[in-house]
């Protein structure tokens, strides 16, 4: 589904990606992990075409994405920080995105699921962080696309919403979709992810299942296993 | 019976008059077929009635008091041979002719009608086309040039003549003429006490009206449009210029009015509109400028050289690029109670007079005088800032050049 080859990206003096190769096949939930500044968001944004790579190629659905934009019809994206135009109402924002994408859409169910009905006529600037994140989730899940990319989806969510989110992710997985997630909440990752992609120093350090990872690091706890990668590397 | 006697007396008197002044017809089928022949046969004070037709004649000499009256504008075609009519007698009237093709020469000033050393002449209702000089008055006094139309096609100054020219002539009235496309529309040299009213002088190469060494003349209600310069008044005294309109005299050396070495003149109630320079003043003193309108000129008034004791009062300065321009730091002229559309002051005591004096000279006008190309920076913010600072504390412009009583409303 996604092929990344020899990807390089530098922000001014900061080399973020150094020859990253990655192949993600269709179906399943992939967690992209890594310490702060390891290039998770950059990788996602390159896949989305928001950041332009210095070197290397990215193919999505078997096609190069350079200077293309139509392939984003098949991707749903939840950005890391839910910033929206402040003077739009929630209703208008949803209507606008629907208008822009012109695709079949099931926002009603999601609005009910996250209990957003009372906020539909409120301006986005007046919403709390958690509510904004819920709107963000609705926008990301309301279309029926084969590839879903979630950047820190759990930020600011209350437990009930978190459960709904997990259910939502599982449901999408069952429908055979491919889901990319980044998160700092290891418990959440452990619960939902089928496979881990671990980024370190601009490259893929590890790719495989959770059990594989624990084996490799000789840890019994997932969180410790992840921590072990970071410390081992820094000790070496 | 008594009535019959009276009638008889009248008839006798009438026929007696006819005997002394006959009317002689001239036409192609008449007994007399040419104008020259007509003049030869006519007695003094006779009338030559010239019927419609074309008369190919030139050098026609009128040497006795006659009236030449055209019927339905007969054409006199000079065929570019030279002068067409010359008047050397007093009491001559020329009326209703259409004169064309005056000869052009570099050595003599051929005219359509030349009046030489004669008095009491009347030249009226004449139409002139394809001319060199039009109506030329030479040392002739007490005459009238009335309601003529002079249409030239002059291209270059050196081989074109003037529409109406007065040379050493006095007490002449020039009224309701239309002059266009010649060198100078109306030209006066050494001619005093001339009245020039209601003429329209347009599209002339040099000046619409031109005074040289002529004194005590007056011109009113004339229109001067699109000439090289509207009116040039040079080396003359006591000229009155009232109620004239000067429009669209555009170009590098184009003025509505050019004053050069003029003293004691009065300029009032005139309108100067859309001229490159409204009035260009050089070395002129004791002139009163009252109730004139200066509208949308490049420079309303440009003062060059020494000009003393001139008064500018109750004029309207409306939307000119520059109101006044000086080339020196000295000022001996008075500006009082004018209306300036650029004035931005206030009138707290509501007496119709602005409480802050107005400085009509912009520093920018000095800069443009020095480097003309800077004109492209007109109305730029940078220039406005410079002009403003100069207005606050004058350094380059004459300190006393201001209108202490600027009007808040334009004068009617």
């Amino acid at each position: 589904m996604i092929q990344v080859e020899n990807l390089h990206k530098k922000f001014s003096k900061n080399q973020v990606l150094t020859g990253l190769d990655l192949n993600i096949q269709e179906g399943g939930i992939f967690a992209i992990l890594g310490p702060n500044g390891s290039g998770k968001t950059t990788l996602i944004k390159i896949i989305l075409g928001m950041v332009i790579a210095d070197k290397g190629t990215v193919s999505v659905f078997g096609k190069h994405i350079k200077n293309k934009w139509k392939y984003r019809q098949e991707i749903e994206y939840l950005p890391q920080i839910a910033n929206f135009p402040g003077n739009l109402r929630v209703k208008e924002l949803i209507r606008m995105i629907k208008d822009l994408r012109q695709q079949p859409c099931e926002e009603k169910r999601l609005i009910e699921l996250f209990g957003l009905q009372p906020f539909m006529d409120k301006k986005l600037a007046t919403l709390s962080g958690g509510t904004k994140q819920k709107v963000n989730i609705v926008l990301a899940f309301m279309f029926n696309s084969p590839l879903i990319i979630l950047d820190e989806p759990t930020t600011g969510l209350d437990p009930a919403a978190l459960i709904s989110l997990k259910e939502l992710i599982q449901k999408e997985k069952q429908e055979g979709k491919t889901i990319l997630i980044t998160s700092h909440i290891m418990q959440f990752v452990e619960e939902v992810a089928d496979e881990i992609v671990y980024l370190l120093e601009g490259k893929i350090y590890f790719k495989g299942g959770i059990s594989e990872l624990m084996e490799k690091t000789a840890q019994t706890n997932f969180e410790h296993a992840i921590a072990a990668i970071a410390t081992k590397k820094s000790n070496a | 019976m008594r009535y019959l006697n009276g009638l008889l007396v009248i008839i006798i008197m009438f026929s007696g008059h006819c005997l002394s002044a006959e009317t002689i017809s001239v036409c192609s089928t008449c007994k007399i077929k040419s104008i020259k022949e007509g003049i030869k046969t006519a007695a003094e004070f006779d009338t030559l009635l010239i019927k419609k037709g074309t008369y190919k004649e030139f050098n026609i000499l009128i040497d006795k008091p006659l009236t030449l009256l055209g019927e339905n504008f007969p054409i006199i075609d000079g065929e570019d041979q030279g002068e067409i009519i010359r008047v050397t007698a007093d009491n001559v009237t020329i009326d209703g002719l259409f004169i064309i093709n005056v000869g052009t020469s570099y050595t003599s000033d051929y005219a359509a009608i030349r009046v030489v050393k004669s008095e009491n002449f009347i030249i009226q209702n004449i139409v002139l086309e394809k001319l060199f000089f039009g109506i030329y008055l030479e040392k002739s006094n007490n005459g009238k040039v009335y309601h003529n139309k002079i249409i030239g096609d002059a291209v270059d100054e050196y081989n074109s003549g003037n529409g109406i020219q007065l040379w050493y002539s006095k007490n002449v009235e020039v009224d309701r003429n239309i002059v266009q496309g010649v060198r100078d529309g109306i030209y006066l040299e050494f001619s005093d006490n001339i009245t020039i009213n209601n003429n329209i002088s347009t599209n002339n190469l040099r000046y619409g009206l031109h005074f040289m060494f002529s004194n005590d003349d007056i011109y009113t209600n004339n229109t001067f449009e699109n000439n090289g310069a509207g009116v040039a008044v040079m080396f003359s005294k006591r000229i009155k210029m009232i109620g004239n309109t000067f429009r669209k005299n555009w170009g590098a050396a184009a003025f509505g009015m050019l004053l050069k070495e003029i003293n004691d003149a009065e300029i009032s109630g005139n309108t100067f509109e859309e001229n490159t320079i409204g009035i260009n003043i050089e070395g002129s003193n004791r002139i009163k400028y009252i109730n004139n309108n200066f509208i949308k000129n490049g420079w309303a008034i440009k003062v060059l050289g020494a000009c003393y004791t001139n008064t500018f009062e109750k004029n309207n300065f409306l939307y000119n690029s520059f109101d006044i321009s000086y080339n020196s730091k000295l000022n001996d002229n008075v500006f009082n109670q004018n209306y300036w559309s650029d004035y931005a002051g206030y009138d707290l005591d509501q007496n119709g007079i602005g409480d802050v004096p107005y400085r009509p000279v912009k520093l920018f006008s000095y800069i443009v005088n020095r480097t003309p190309e800077t004109i492209v920076l007109l109305r730029s913010l940078f220039m406005d800032i410079i002009d403003f600072s100069e207005k606050v504390s004058p350094v380059f412009t004459p300190d006393n050049l201001l209108d202490a009583n600027p009007l808040m409303k334009r004068t009617k």
Partner: protein, 260 residues
Amino acid sequence: MLKILKYSFYDLMRSRWSYVYFLFYLALGFVLLFLNNDVSKAVITLMNIIIVLVPLIGTIFGVMYYYDSKEFTELLLAQPIKRSSIFLGQYLGVACSLTLSLVLGLGIPFLLYGLFKSNVIFDFSLLLVTGAFLTLIFTAIAFNIALSNENKIKGFGYAVLAWLFLAVVYDGLFLMSLIVFEEYPLDSFSLAATMFNPIDLSRTLILLKLDISALLGYTGAVFKEFFGTNTGLIISILMLLLWTVLPIGRLAYKAKRKDF
């Protein structure tokens, strides 16, 4: 692109600043016309205001809108929309709403005053066309500056400096160079220098209407050809178009290559 334009436009139409801008021009128009009762003077005053204020407002609004709508932009970037459409749409949204504020704000009082009966309709339309051009040009310049500067304060500063340079400093340098080189024939140079500054260019366009009498006072043949015929009008309008197209082109080019 039209959809983005629509949303940006509606977004701005609802913002307070558009109304302030609109009301400002409305008030200005009414004050100039109905208090002064002098259309010619009103046109001259408006011209002075337009060539200074319109670029400033265009610059500030452009920069402000760009930074304010960063989130909106990022939201859109993940959607299946062409990049250039996003930026051009936003740009046109800002430029159009500003132009609309200007045209309506000044147009309404002039219409009420009975402009169509007066003979300054030409001058006035030229004024509005020039104002529209200046809005398009300076909003585009502002977007370019904002796009090249992540730092909001820096971008804002550069934009204001750019305005200051084109509105005032440029003319100062221009004047000085004319005076320094006054012995040389300068008419081609001075016309060329005018072409390189959109504010000067618009000013020239208006001078052609208001001050033609003064402009024809200069003897240079190039000047005569430029101001005396329609050449000046045509060249100025073409140059203004070029000034509009170039920054928009750069905007589209830069937008394609930028990371978000």
